[in-house]
Amino acid sequence: MRSLIKIVSHIQTDEAIRFVESPESGGIVTFIGTVRNQTQGKPVLKLFFESYEPMALLEMEKIARQAAVQWNVQHIAIIHATGEKLPGEEVVVIAVAAPHRGAAFAACQYAIDTLKETVPIWKREFFEDGAVWVAAHP
């Protein structure tokens, strides 16, 4: 298995796809997360992402290893952006190549679901009337 795990200031979707493509695998599933222009109807001006980078990279590597073991994933790329992001900009891309497409779908969904639960990255949402750290409070 090849894996590409990165935290960057600007996402290149294509880099993730090219990394996992190979003549040995027949199917690639990707998830791309972008900044939405509203949250529950309230316009979002921008987001700011902060990470605890060395730990975030380790947790992303754990996700890649688990995907390889559980779904026989051949190659996986997990790239997350940090810093300021405007609506429409890409925040995260995950690309998974596997011999069977069902496995590629399952592994890609596992990867994004788990990333949101375990990878130390935080998002601050900026509105016209202020800003909040997302999900911080109950």
Binding site: S51, M55, H80, P120, W122, K123, W133
Partner: protein
């Protein structure tokens, strides 16, 4: 012992890191000290502690030189 803060805890602590005057014996002891010093952290949905870049339970012992981070609720992705 030095601890790092991220996200909203960085704001509540007034900076990215802090020297804890006493050496807490466990993660739980550190947590208690933090909640006393920064009561607003009690209002967060959850606060996890990472030791040497791994999530740690309250029972885990702490040693000098450990890399300790305060992890507020995650919102990546």
């Amino acid at each position: 012992m030095k601890i790092m803060f991220f996200g909203i805890t960085k704001e509540l602590a007034g900076g990215p890191s802090l020297d804890v005057p006493l050496q807490p014996a466990t993660v739980g002891e550190l947590r208690g000290w933090l909640m006393e010093r920064y009561p607003a952290m009690k209002n967060l949905r959850a606060v996890m502690i990472a030791v040497n870049k791994t999530y740690a339970g309250d029972a885990q012992p702490l040693a000098e030189g450990d890399e300790v981070a305060v992890i507020p609720p995650l919102s990546g992705g």
